[in-house]
């Protein structure tokens, strides 16, 4: 091995590396904003997913629970937004309010009985609710139009001003994502967040310390359902169209991938993961038929070399540096 001048890793550099995932993801965002092109579209979807995955992270990363059905809450809110704005002339915000209420009621009905039980009851129940909501979206054609979908959904508007340009939408979504990440950070650093990590660590130990596990799990579930609902409504306003496939099981698979690639339980994880996972397929687009293959291979490499997620990449460098130091 050649002599390396960086045997010791200064703390400053390490902290710099910790910010690297943020910088990289923010750089892509800025590029999309200033240069435009279809990257704007890709990033808009990525940001919507950041909101969704941030919610999932609160429930799965912070509270250590599993849900396969958060797509249901996105669908409930998204369809409510779509239906109320197109058929009843609602403005986007009150329509979202109704969608949020519906998603939260549904989350409460599913979560309240199942989260009192230990084990995988909730995971099973969420899987079921995801499938049921999908079926309802397909079959209840008088409201949802089935597979035809609802089109002509107005764009997001604030105080009568509609955001129609893609750049404007991207800016708006950036603000939403910043707020969502801030909320996620505040949750993690709060008493509530600590209680969630305790429940994630050991439910019995947490309860023996007086932490009401079922109440906190339910609160985390509701909070994450609210994020999912927000993402669901954002989607319909950004695209202007909704059909059942939008909130299919692939949404769950994609969100899980983003969460694990970005780093579950971390604050930057959802942002980094969603941006990377949204960009990867585009990087391989010129591979045509091999696009999926290259994407899959890249995923495997990411999970092998950054098993705790890309947002923990600085610890990866630290380990490499430590190894180097040992070798030389």
């Amino acid at each position: 091995m050649t002599k390396s001048p960086t045997i010791t890793f200064p703390d400053m550099t390490r902290r710099g590396l910790g910010a690297l995932p943020w910088i990289a993801a923010a750089g892509v965002l800025a590029y999309a904003f200033f240069v435009g092109g279809y990257l704007t579209t890709v990033m808009s979807f990525a940001l919507i997913y950041v909101v969704f995955v941030t919610g999932l992270n609160v429930f799965m990363g912070y509270a250590g629970q599993v849900s396969f059905g958060h797509n249901a809450f996105a669908a409930l809110s998204g369809y409510t937004s779509a239906y109320l704005t197109t058929s009843h002339g609602f403005a986007p915000l009150p329509a979202f309010g109704a969608g949020l209420a519906l998603a939260l009621s549904c989350a409460l009905i599913v979560g309240y009985p199942t989260l009192r039980l230990k084990g995988h009851y909730l995971a099973m129940a969420t899987l079921a609710i995801g499938l049921i909501v999908y079926e309802v979206a397909v079959e209840w054609t008088s409201v949802t139009q089935g597979y035809m979908g609802i089109s002509g959904i107005p764009p997001i508007g604030i105080a009568g001003y509609e955001i129609t340009s893609e750049r404007g939408q991207l800016a708006f979504l950036t603000v939403i994502v910043a707020l969502a990440t801030l909320v996620s950070w505040r949750i993690r650093e709060s008493r509530f967040g600590r209680a969630l990590s305790a429940v994630a660590g050991s439910e019995d130990a947490a309860r023996a310390l007086g932490i009401s596990a079922s109440r906190y799990k339910l609160s985390a579930f509701l909070a994450s359902a609210a994020f999912a609902a927000l993402a669901g409504s954002l989607f319909v306003h950004v695209v202007g169209f909704v059909s059942p496939e939008v909130y299919g099981l692939h949404m769950v698979v994609l969100a899980f991938t983003m969460l694990y690639v970005g780093g579950i339980g971390t604050i930057a994880g959802p942002f980094v993961g969603a941006v990377i996972i949204s960009l990867l397929p585009e990087m391989f687009r010129q591979f045509k038929d091999y696009q999926d293959l290259a994407y899959g291979a890249a995923l495997i490499l990411l999970l092998i070399y950054a098993p705790r997620g890309l947002s923990t990449i600085s610890s990866l460098f630290r380990r490499a540096a430590a190894k180097k130091a040992v070798v030389s």
Binding site: I23, A30, Y38, V42, Y147, M148, V239
Partner: protein, 380 residues
């Protein structure tokens, strides 16, 4: 490090700007296609793409349209709306396509329609048309109205059989739903009564409950509406239940029907596109149009089913006709050209577009056929 980042960022920006460099004169006319090359629409959309490719090759061999060569950009939308929006957007801003000739993923085309219409790019589709007036203005379809497939079957039952009670078995796709609604609406016009309407999922492995229910209600013929393996499932169920019923299915790749015919024999009928029964067609303009398409198609793809591919061929030829008529490649002009096409003999039928009709096939070109001794035979 920050300097390195700045440099890298600048390089990225520069790369982005270069791709956005102004167009060179006489660059090819770019056709974009959002197709479900993977996912549920794969069979149809791959055939559609191949038909479009054959048409473009044929036109380019003759020097293109008005001396301008054609170039196709295909992107896989994975049969999903969100992916479709991404690829539409990609083809608009990165490839700068002039027109879209997109596949049958309706939801994907609908999701992107607003975007495409705002950019004033016409689209010729394999799917049904979007619903919004501002979007449908820019969209055209080569699909015959859903009702035609139903009419062909109802007419046969009225004219050639004693059956007066029928059942409708359909999947939940928009196109199947349109057919189902049409059947319920017009059955009486053909002296028929719909005594049962049952639905199924595309991946159902057994349909005997639905079939028994309709038989019990008195149905002696089933209109099966929907693509895929369920057609064979339904046939097997009818046979297993020992029911004396006819099954009349929607238009599909004939390859799917061969095993079905082995199960049900002469109790099985299917709606056929002219391209699928080319050999038994009488001479005339339709056959001539089909010859133009099937000659290069068969040279490249052998006896692969030409139905969806023939629609793709038509889409390209309609585009060429519109451009030549308007003598312009501009989006709004091409749109106007498409809208004023009339009496255009395509491979599926005659196209007559108008400001209110963007689904150009207005007279029913479809036939009803059966398979006897492994050979396709037209019965009506």
């Amino acid at each position: 490090m920050s300097k390195m980042l700045t440099t890298g960022f600048a390089a990225l920006v520069a790369a982005g700007l270069m791709t956005a460099a102004p167009a060179v004169a006489q660059e090819p006319y770019k056709i974009g296609m959002s197709a479900g090359l993977t996912g549920y629409a794969a069979t149809v959309d791959r055939a559609w793409r191949d038909g479009v490719e054959v048409a473009i090759a044929a036109l380019n061999a003759k020097g293109g349209i008005m001396g301008r060569k054609l170039e196709l950009v295909v992107e896989d939308n994975k049969s999903e709306p969100q992916e479709a929006v991404t690829v539409y957007r990609k083809m608009m801003s990165s490839d700068k396509v002039n027109i879209f000739i997109s596949g049958c993923v309706s939801a994907g085309n609908f999701a992107a329609a607003g975007l495409v219409a705002r950019a004033e790019i016409p689209m010729v589709l394999c799917s049904i048309l979007p619903q919004q007036p501002d979007q449908v203005k820019w969209a055209f379809s080569t699909l015959p109205p859903a009702g035609f497939e139903v009419d062909t079957r109802l007419k046969y039952l009225m004219d050639k059989t004693q059956i007066r009670k029928i059942g409708v078995l359909h999947d939940p796709t928009p196109y199947a739903n349109l057919q189902k609604n049409h059947a319920q609406k017009v059955a009486a016009d053909y002296g028929l009564e719909v005594v049962g309407v049952e639905s199924y999922k595309q991946d159902d492995a057994d349909l005997s409950v639905q079939i028994s229910k309709m038989h019990a209600a008195g149905a002696r013929a089933i209109l099966k509406i929907g693509l895929g393996g369920t057609t064979l499932t339904a046939a097997k169920n009818i046979k297993q239940l020992g029911l004396d019923m006819l099954m009349l299915t929607s238009l599909e790749d004939i390859a799917v029907f061969k095993p079905v015919a082995e199960v049900l024999g002469d109790k099985f009928f299917f709606v056929a596109s002219p391209s699928q029964v080319y050999d038994v067609l009488p001479d005339g303009p339709l056959k001539a149009a089909l010859t133009a398409f099937l000659t290069p198609w068969r040279a490249k793809h052998g006896d692969r089913d030409p139905n969806w591919a023939s629609r793709g061929w038509d889409a390209v030829m309609l585009t060429a006709a519109a451009i030549e008529k308007e003598k312009s490649f501009e989006g709004p002009k091409v749109r106007d050209g498409l809208e004023s096409i009339s009496g255009f003999q395509g491979t599926t039928g005659v196209y007559n577009m108008s400001p209110t009709v963007h689904q150009g096939i207005t007279t029913n070109p479809l036939l009803l056929a059966t398979i006897v001794d492994g050979k396709v035979k037209v019965v009506q």
